[in-house]
Amino acid sequence: MNLNDTPEEAAFRAEARAWIAANRYDERTMETLKGLAGNGAPLPSAELWALAKDWNARKYDAGYAVLTWPKAFGGRDAPNLAAIFAEEEGPLARFQGYLVITQFMCAATLMAFASSEQKAALLPRIARADDIWCQMFSEPAAGSDLAAVRTRAERVEGGWRVNGQKVWTSGAHMAGWGTLLARTDPTTPKHKGLTMFFLRMDSPGVRVRPIELMSGEAEFNEIFFDDVFIPDAQRLGEVGAGWKAAVVTLNSERMAIGAMLDVDSAALLDLACETGAITRADVRQTLADWIIKERGLRACVARQLTAISEGRAPGPEAATIKLVGGVMIEDMAAYALDLIDGEGLALRPGRDPRRVYRDMFYFGPAQRAAGGSDEVLKNVLAERVLGLPMEDRPDNRLPFNEVPTAPRG
């Protein structure tokens, strides 16, 4: 139990602070970046991606990127230092969110299953974010029920031919590479007929189509595979062991969970102070509740980081953080929009706090569905932590191609 830095951590913090101060962007850009969490108008998506890559490249060149990675791959195996660096980055830390899939999820899967030549060629480019990767998992008929993916990979001379469709793939429009979970055997039960691959996104037959969301943003994509060839050398793990590889991908997300915590009750308190709403007793009580919950979430992240750094398996923290944090985004956004101005249905040009809370309002529902919906997380907590019995699941024992997919008759 220690709220303070160790001497090593304090030294790193001082070093990080000095480096960030010397290398961050000019005031105007920083001011706009705060718009991601503060008061300004957001930058267009393409500019943000470019800045995210540039900032990461600066970090990489100075030795501050991928601090959580194992030393063997150029990291420092230090989630605590990564957390400290992010605290010092301030608004710049938001860029890590763009790189979670590349540097955590896809990288972890490559580290576990790629050949040493592949790792040597691909990981440094990932660490510098020269290459953006996407993770092609969800499909129109396989979201929460991820093991039901139907995108088919069939053996051909020297490799595999892929046909099918993926959806909700974050960042695919920016990605040069991607990992792919595909079905190689539809005649065995669902978890056993899957295999993991990776491929270049400019492979012939791959078509990426961004999906416009309610916010007007288009960070998610549909991907169509039309007789796409993947060399067998780009298979990750054994044939039929794709579920195991998918679990490696999904588990790596917990290392990034702090970067995913997207609630800022302090900004809401600022807003209430600025508008004078803070004099209302009901506002004070509601804000206190969120501040307390956010403090709990951040301490939960700290518990998890501590467990990882002590070599212990983390408990139910990750699912708790995602479950509680997701609903909070929706609740806080709706509350803030009401609080700012009951009449204010329209955005004003320029600086307008509504913009930030509108973005949260639009983003909340996506957060509650992505990477394990609330319902899936609750099942995980109930079954794996509390030990409640699973429901009868015929899909686990039937060959995949005999699992019902629609009402009978």
Binding site: N4, I292, G296, A302, T320, A346, V385, G387
Partner: protein
Amino acid sequence: MRLSFSSDHQGLREEFEHVFAAEATSARARAGASSPEGWDRALWRQLAELGWLGVTASEAHGGLGQDPLALCLIAEAFGQRLAAIPFLGAALGFADALLTIGDRSLSDALAPGVVAGEVIGALAIPEHFTALDIDDGHASGACPALMDAAATTHILTLAGAGSDAQLILLDVTAAHRERIDSLDRVNLAWAVTFDRAPSRTLARGETASDLWRTLRARYATFMSFVQIGAASAALDMARDHVIQRYAFGRPLGSFQAVKHELADVLAAIEIARSNAWFAAAALNEGGSALAQAGAAARVSATDAHRLAARANVHLHGGLGVTAESDAHLHYRRAQALGLVIGPSSVWRERLIAELVAARAVAPAAPQLPRTGS
């Protein structure tokens, strides 16, 4: 930041649990509370003999000489069981206050008695008193409902405010006490009235108020561990029930509606646990972070405990509302513990007041441009 308890702390907790789990059964708690004395003096003596009433007291005073982190885990283990003993006020609040006040002669005089279970202290918030008149080393007054006060010998409280504030220690050994209809069925509340009880002023003015705020935040932190232990006990009871109870040909706990209710309870407990661990670290370091951390731990733990107790009653169906089931003991306790050192609304207000003051922004007229009109 590191949030984890050492294996030494966990080992000590297991040692305590080993004794306490065997003795502190709900049957015994019920019997103790409905005995003529209204509490379980035998269990109290047993814990005293084993040193568990003086976890943080020095070895010179007969205690175990452990740090407050150890006491946090013991508090959690205590919370997991029902026991008709004044552990909360005496072994947590009062025992810790004696050390924190740091008055050598005071702790020399009282700590050995606390460890032996003969000095049974309580921290009473000013709101607990309907009257309190202090005059020349004596005090008269009344607490219409003080938890666990069957055998309370000392009450520590803050009287007055501002420059008139006094941190006072009342000797209520001779006070009149009357059992009342308690919200908590195990840890009963008593109406305590005292006339010219010996009173000692430990601090005055700002010093007294500051000290009181620290004592209160520390007590809130220990209490949050008790509440988390109690919440886990209610959750475990609900889980055990829904696993063995069948309906519609399958275990109740296999229905998602049931799973999701309990998953929400688990998530609330994990948030509360995280806030409590942070507060424990702040308490152990003794810095200014405790004021906010203690308030956050207190509110979170009350929420989690009440949610767990309510889910437990509900998932037991009709059985949950009977006197026979222990479910109502948890339910009533959860409500009562949330009140003992003031309700959550007060702690939320304390937190927000601190934060607003820290911003040094006086709530001013709206600065944003407004639409309409």
